[in-house]
């Protein structure tokens, strides 16, 4: 059980020797928190909420009929990351995403890592996210994951762990950008007291990345589009926000069609050829001729065009395998095998329930572990042992016994906390961090910052927005 969490402002809150203990990076912020009256925070917070509501930043919660559009709670106290900390993360992220791309190229190609026994063959071949279709051709520049969101948690001064590799269609970057805009409007003075690295160039970096991926058949000015499942998707706001910032068309499947293995969009001036598709649509729905035949969201024939190399999909099809939580547990070996280097960023120790020994350990220690479905996301279908009731644990044990292959378990990490403005005032709350890594044909780009998610409920470790989490602006200090 998490005893005392590392607080990013005061180091160890519980063990602080004096109330003035504060980490250097948080000096100005602590001063600001101490000298600002609480009602000022309240005013600013309601202004922030009004801004978000007016701009229309909402997300949909699945299974929630009452209100299809909700606001993700925004916390007005920023989270601060120092320049050296960021430098370390950046190096680790580049290494990890490079390795993920090499791994994907390998499992859809020569399969050296399986032959070398780095990862069990059945974990790859029997994986629902492994796409046989991808075996038959090479993707442009051998790059599969172009946009990755790597979830990072912190447990101490120098202890950072990768919690998840989001290699399919990671979302949340619009919050990184809008949170900063709102903070700049609400607290200009605070920015004048800190040197905060800007994030506003993310859309430019993304566009440069996408353009670099254009197929050889494209002109020097390739046509890039963003493919959304539509406005009922929970991340639709982000899709339209990004399309606007990128200056590219936001298309739905019905706007696209294929002819002679080329993808076109329907415009008021007739069909226009499409070169790069930044798709925010899962593999399963992309092409009803290849994947789910009942998909109304997909474009018939798009996979043929993709295989013929007339269009680039970002991310590539079949990257979900690198997103899988069972594959995740092999990531340290994967990084080492492909880059020849020691992994810079560590994994959270992970028990694979598919392995007999690990399984019995997990069954014996359910009340202390976090158990996750290997294909789950969004904080659904997981058990947080220390916070679960006896009954919940028993229910979960049943599912686990029924399909051990489908689960992994991790020790309950004591996630770091950051000062957060809650009903009772300013109090520490657990956070994680999702930086966004862009892999272009030319270079890897990482904008200094990311999405900080915060579990607003006291003691809660679940930061997902679908489970009552909020967000914060993330400040990477430039000095």
């Amino acid at each position: 059980m998490a005893a005392v969490a590392f607080d990013e402002m005061t180091a160890f809150a519980g063990a602080a020797t004096s109330p003035d203990d504060v980490r250097e990076a948080y000096g100005q912020l602590k001063n600001w928190l101490d000298t600002t009256p609480a009602d000022h925070f309240n005013t600013r917070r309601s202004q922030a909420e009004l801004l978000f509501r007016r701009i229309g930043i909402t997300f949909a919660v699945y299974g929630d009929n009452e209100s299809t559009e909700r606001l993700i709670p925004f916390d007005i106290i920023p989270r601060v990351i120092t320049k050296p900390e960021w430098g370390f993360l950046e190096r680790g992220l580049k290494q990890r995403v490079t390795a993920i791309n090499m791994f994907l190229k390998d499992i859809y190609g020569a399969q050296e890592c399986i032959k070398a026994g780095i990862i069990p063959a059945d974990l790859v071949y029997k994986n629902a996210h492994y796409r046989m279709e991808m075996r038959s051709f090479r993707v442009p520049h051998d790059l599969y994951v172009h946009i990755a969101g790597i979830d990072i948690v912190r447990t101490g001064e120098n202890d950072f762990f990768v919690l998840e590799d989001n290699a399919r269609i990671p979302s949340g970057v619009s919050y990184m950008l809008e949170n900063r805009e709102v903070m700049l409007r609400l607290f200009p003075d605070l920015f004048s007291r800190h040197r905060v690295a800007p994030v506003e160039n993310y859309p430019d970096a993304l566009l440069a990345t996408l353009r670099s991926l254009a197929p050889a058949t494209a002109t020097r000015d390739p046509t890039v589009v963003l493919l959304t499942p539509g406005r009922y998707n929970s991340a639709f706001y982000e899709h339209s926000f990004l399309a606007d910032k990128l200056g590219v068309e936001l298309v739905e499947a019905g706007d696209l069609f294929t002819k002679d293995d080329v993808v076109y969009m329907r415009t008021t001036e007739g069909p226009r050829r499409v070169d790069v598709i930044y798709r925010r649509l899962d593999d399963d729905f992309l092409d009803p001729l290849v994947f789910r035949p009942d998909s109304m969201l997909g474009v018939p024939g798009i996979m043929n065009a993709y295989e013929r190399g007339s269009v680039t999909l970002a991310n590539a099809v079949g990257t979900g395998i690198a997103d899988d939580k069972a594959v995740y547990s092999y990531m340290p070996e994967i990084v080492k095998f492909f880059t020849g280097e020691e992994p810079i960023l560590h994994n959270v120790p992970t028990y694979r329930c598919r392995e007999k020994e690990a399984f019995s350990y997990v069954m014996d220690n359910l009340s202390e572990l976090v158990v996750k479905e290997v294909n789950g996301s969004g904080g659904y279908g997981m058990l947080v042992g220390p916070h679960a009731t006896k009954r919940e644990i028993e229910e979960f044990a049943k599912r686990l016994r029924h399909a051990p292959d489908g689960f992994i378990a991790q020790p309950t990490l004591s996630l770091s906390t950051c000062p957060t403005f809650v009903a009772s005032g300013v109090a520490p709350r657990h956070v994680d961090l999702r930086p966004f890594v862009l892999c272009g044909a030319d270079e890897i780009r990482i904008v200094p910052g990311g999405l900080t998610r915060v579990a607003l409920k006291e003691g809660s470790l679940v930061v997902n927005s679908s489970q009552g989490g909020g967000t914060k602006d993330t400040w990477v200090l430039d000095a």
Binding site: R53, R54, G56, R231, F236, S240, F241, A243, D244, E249, L250, V251, E252, G254, D255, M265, R266, T267, T268, E269
Partner: protein
């Protein structure tokens, strides 16, 4: 531009225009209904006529017991069953706007999204007459702000032109619907000079198209049915007249055709119709049958709408 984007812009504008139209119909109906019977008010069938102008009586029937102020106001303003109620219009406008946020300016989005958020404060409340009037004023304000922000902030390219097309087609249809319901009171055999029961009916029509003051500026005469019809149908100065709506349509369809380097059925149909409206005279319209003329116009306007959809929005 994506065809779907053009489609959303076009319908966004149509719904905003329609919301204002419904608000004007309700406002005018209230005013007429509150007049003493001797002035044509009270016991008239004003609510049935408002219902016929701005809604579909067949959709209305299964949900209400009778046609009166309360039921018609509820149906036209708030009913989720009525796709043209003010509420449905604002919701549809916002849905369309949400799909094409990237094509809208911040100001336009703020107007629509703000309206949609504020709409909730008017729902499910028993609005008294004063509050209902404030509600109608608020609705009219939305379309003014929307149109104003489109005019003041949009780039002058096809995104702007398609919003103009939506507004013009919808306006033409709305004006025609009023005439379709009320043509009888404009016919010559009911004409009496000044102060008749019908006088207030005629002025109601003018209010419905926000032309009560304009009429006097244009004709410098007391209100006469022939001139009311002329103002609504043939007068190019009148923003909501058939002729002006077609002037706007032809202008923007031509801009689109020039930009895309291609003309099609919508340009041809619209300019033919405009030419006919320009060479028409109101006496001839009355002689050959006002109602037939209006019905024919509604049909042709629909054809132009279908041609626009076929050519650009599909």
């Amino acid at each position: 531009m994506l065809s779907r984007t053009a489609d959303n812009l076009y319908w966004l504008s149509r719904y905003v225009e329609r919301a204002e139209f419904v608000a004007r119909i309700l406002d005018a109906a209230h005013r007429l209904a509150s007049l003493p019977t001797s002035y044509g008010g009270g016991e008239t069938n004003e609510w049935a006529s408002a219902l016929a102008s701005a809604g579909d009586p067949e959709v209305f029937k299964p949900h209400y017991d009778g046609v009166n102020a309360a039921t018609v106001c509820d149906f036209l303003a708030f009913s989720p069953h009525n796709p043209s109620s003010i509420r449905s219009c604002i919701e549809s406008a916002r849905e369309n706007a949400r799909s094409v946020r990237t094509a809208l300016t911040t100001e336009m989005w703020d107007t629509i999204n703000g309206a949609w958020l504020e709409l909730r404060s008017y729902e499910k409340k028993d609005l008294d007459r004063d509050a209902f009037t404030r509600f109608l004023d608020w609705v009219k304000g939305i379309s003014l702000t929307f149109d104003g922000s489109a005019y003041r902030t949009m780039l002058r390219n096809d995104t702007y032109w398609f919003t103009r097309l939506g507004t013009a087609i919808e306006r033409a249809d709305n004006t025609a619907r009023i005439l379709d319901v009320k043509y009888k009171i404009l016919l010559p055999d009911t004409e009496k000079i000044g102060g008749s029961l019908d006088y207030f009916q005629w002025t109601t029509i003018l209010r419905e198209v926000s032309a009560f003051n304009a009429y006097h500026w244009v004709y410098r005469e007391s209100v006469k049915p022939l001139l009311v019809a002329d103002l609504l149908i043939l007068n190019r100065q009148m923003p909501r007249s058939f002729a002006n709506c077609y002037g706007v349509l032809v202008e923007h369809l031509d801009l689109i055709a020039d930009a895309y380097g291609r003309r099609g059925a919508s340009q041809r149909l619209a300019s033919n119709l405009l030419a006919r409206l320009e060479s028409e005279e109101i006496d001839r319209v009355f002689a050959s049958g006002l109602h037939e003329f209006v019905i024919a116009f509604i049909g042709e306007n629909n054809k132009v709408g279908a041609a626009i959809a076929e050519q650009y929005l599909g």
